[in-house]
Amino acid sequence: MTAELAADPGSLVFLELGETLRRRGQPEVALKVAAAGTARYPSLADAHDLLARIYSDLGDGEAAFDSWMDALQNDPAHLGAHKGLGFLYFRSGDLPRALRHLELAQSGSDDAGLARAAARVRAAMMEGGASGSSAPASNAVGQDLPFSLDDSVVSQPAEASGPEDELFLGFDGARDGLLLLDQNGLRLGGGLRDSASRDVSDAAAAHLSGVSREAARTARLLELGAWLSVAAECGTGNLHLSAPSDDTVLLTTRDASVPAARLAVIAERAGAAARRWLERVA
């Protein structure tokens, strides 16, 4: 990723690189990567969210607070920012505001960990917990946290048990909103579930290879050059189809709270992860 970013400083790979460095316990290096990326993409909420998590790791709650607020300015429904602010407000003892942000995060996610966190904050409020109203300071209150920041910001697969599970490791929707398939419509990794949580990966994959071929044909015959993506807004959800390599197709889906342009950014990051995975397993 470092080489990729050096070759193309404008690449969005800085998001993944910064997150990886943060998780490896190199927050100072991660901070440089995230700060440079945020300067380049000042309206990208994900960049501010990454910066905030690094500041939080460094114990700078005020800077983390500012960065998450910046994320919300660019995307008022940003899940990570609401989770992070909920975390900071809880830590500072401002339970009503913590709960408000956790509930806003919950409105855009069915993450069970978030529901548990909100329930614990409600229980703490019922027990007469602190309810100050000031902006959160760093590491202010020593009470137990309802969830860890890492768990709250990026949903983790339970455990990576094989190469396929490593494909979208760390990505939100790794098993229900990201699907990689080959040219013949066969699933390579990831997964897709419908609104009733039924696995529809194979059914979708069987149709998707046809869509990608049709997209390539259309772009060629209309003299538009190579096709890059097909995006569709479908009422309750959005989908994005791209080709991480010449012989694979990647489907990325999210609910309608994720705008199509942001879905394209997520798809680009997932596509980069898919390319690295394909190189490893080849």
């Binding site: 772009a219 050059g225 479908c234």
Partner: protein, 115 residues
């Protein structure tokens, strides 16, 4: 028909839009168009309806609602399609630097006007 042409002209007037048209979704034939020279309307109509049909079958298999907007992005431009009432698609072809946000809004408006 005049209203339809005016609607299509409004889409075509957006920066980077090379043409807009109404297409029969089921057979891919042109109903009305407002195209710049050099744009093959019949090819656009046939390809857009075919791609939208495949996409619709895919979303159905994935348990998602039918597409309300489709955007094929390619190196040198885009193809946009919005289903309207009565088996009709509003379709536009754009350059790579087109104002896609405005085109999207005008196409949705055009589709609503056809209901």
């Amino acid at each position: 028909m005049t209203d339809i042409v005016v609607t299509l002209d409004r889409v075509s007037a957006i920066r980077g839009v090379r043409g807009a048209m109404l297409v029969s979704a089921s057979d891919g034939l042109v109903i009305a168009d407002s195209l710049m020279d050099g744009v093959d309307g019949q090819a656009v109509a046939a390809l857009a309806s075919s791609l939208m049909g495949r996409l619709r079958r895919t979303t159905q298999a994935a348990g998602m609602p039918a597409p309300e907007i489709m955007h094929l992005k390619a190196e040198r431009g885009s193809l946009l399609a919005v289903p309207a009432a009565d088996d009709v698609l509003v379709v536009a072809v754009t350059t790579a630097d087109a104002n896609l946000g405005l085109a999207r809004l005008e196409m949705l408006e055009a589709a609503r006007a056809l209901v």
